[in-house]
């Protein structure tokens, strides 16, 4: 929760570890300004590798490449501005985690259970969430290219201002899912309950009334 000690830096600090290897809250620097970047990165990788249940980890800004997160459980973790490259995971579980502005590329996160998480402003390139429970998640401003949410439960999630290209939502539960102002190219919602989703805040233009824009 603390801010980076570097003058003018407004980023939150990375997690640090005590002598027993447990997370302590009083880190000092963000990843960009950390004087021992490699050392802290190794500590964080090791912590994730050796623990199945990870609580309160702040790894914002770090790169995770080619690691296996199968059966890992993340609670209250901060992965804002992280890079996830070639991640493989099955049955990943996450609660109250932030992945805002993170980049996911070539990741298989099959059968994940990710609830009350935020992926706002994230970029997905070749990412598979097939068969996942992604309830109550925030995908506002998401850019997704050649990615799949097929067979997933997206109940009460939000894709506001998302840019979706060659991305599929086949056989998904999109009840109460909000898709305001999305841009879509070759997006499929086949077999999904799109009647239950919300695509347009104002409703049809026929019912918007006169001069709806610019009143304020």
């Amino acid at each position: 929760m603390n801010l980076c000690k570097c003058p003018g830096c407004m980023k939150s600090v990375l997690s640090d570890f005590d002598d027993n290897g447990e997370i302590r809250e009083n880190g000092e620097y963000c990843f960009t300004h950390h004087p021992k970047k490699n050392e802290i990165a190794v500590k964080i990788y090791n912590y994730i590798y050796t623990h199945d249940k990870i609580v309160g980890l702040n790894a914002s800004g770090m790169t995770f490449s080619g690691i296996d997160l199968t059966d890992k459980k993340f609670y209250g973790c901060n992965f804002q501005h992280c890079f996830f490259i070639g991640i493989k995971a099955k049955n990943l579980r996450s609660r109250v985690c932030s992945f805002d502005f993170a980049l996911f590329t070539d990741c298989n996160l099959l059968n994940s259970n990710i609830q009350y998480a935020s992926f706002a402003g994230a970029k997905f390139i070749h990412v598979l969430f097939t068969g996942s429970d992604m309830i109550h998640d925030n995908f506002s401003g998401l850019s997704a290219l050649q990615s799949s949410f097929d067979d997933s439960d997206l109940y009460n999630s939000r894709f506001i201002q998302a840019n979706l290209v060659d991305t599929s939502f086949r056989n998904c539960n999109v009840k109460k899912t909000i898709f305001y102002e999305i841009q879509q190219t070759n997006v499929s919602f086949k077999l999904s309950n799109t009647k239950e989703a919300v695509f347009d805040k104002a409703g049809s233009q026929l019912f918007q009334g006169i001069d709806n824009e610019g009143i304020l």
Partner: protein
């Protein structure tokens, strides 16, 4: 500090349980409904529930207060004087409190309701129905909407980008994301 999220399935409102593990004290924000899980957390965690913080006086955010007050001796912090019976603390304007060993800042952001308050603990904003992921809270008229947008811009968007937003309804977000992608606070409203 740990934050636990509870979804009130009756009205789809979010309730947050904020724990200071060192002091063994806790706060509850918007107790829309008190369920067994919340009671268990207090009892099994050997915690003292110090206060309930109310973002605004709408039933989906306050219905659990009556139950809570029956069980625990808690203070209620809200901007609506009607809401909390004694002992209560009526919040006015902006300020800072020290509760459960934590600094709790509060900002008055009216618009959705006249008594809307946003709480900040650590780098987390509990925005109630003022700011949600991608949208703002509902308003009764254009003037209220303008007031709400103005409050969000001046008080909430002034926070750092990676400040987490935990709203009263819907998923979490961050200030940086809202500044970029919230369709109701875009610059078309001056």
């Amino acid at each position: 500090m740990k934050i636990y999220f509870h979804l009130n399935l009756e009205s789809f409102s979010n309730c947050y349980f904020v724990v200071n593990e060192l002091a063994k004290q806790a706060l509850i924000i918007d107790p829309g409904k008190i369920n067994e899980q919340i009671i268990k957390q207090v009892e099994e965690g050997d915690l003292t529930l110090v206060a309930a913080l109310i973002t605004h006086n709408h039933a989906s955010h306050t219905n659990g207060l009556k139950t809570l007050k029956k069980i625990y001796d808690i203070d209620v912090y809200a901007a609506d004087a009607e809401l909390a019976e004694q002992p209560s603390h009526v919040l006015k304007g902006d300020g800072t409190l020290s509760l459960a060993g934590m600094n709790v800042s509060f900002y008055s952001v009216p618009g959705h309701s006249a008594d809307s308050i946003v709480f900040k603990i650590g780098n987390v904003l509990f925005t109630g129905d003022t700011l949600e992921a991608g949208i703002i809270g509902t308003t009764n008229n254009n003037y209220a909407k303008k007031t709400l947008v103005s409050g969000i811009r001046t008080k909430l968007y002034a926070q750092q980008d990676d400040t987490i937003v935990m709203p009263g309804h819907g998923p979490m977000s961050s200030i940086g994301a809202e500044r970029m992608f919230n369709i109701d606070t875009e610059t078309k409203i001056s």
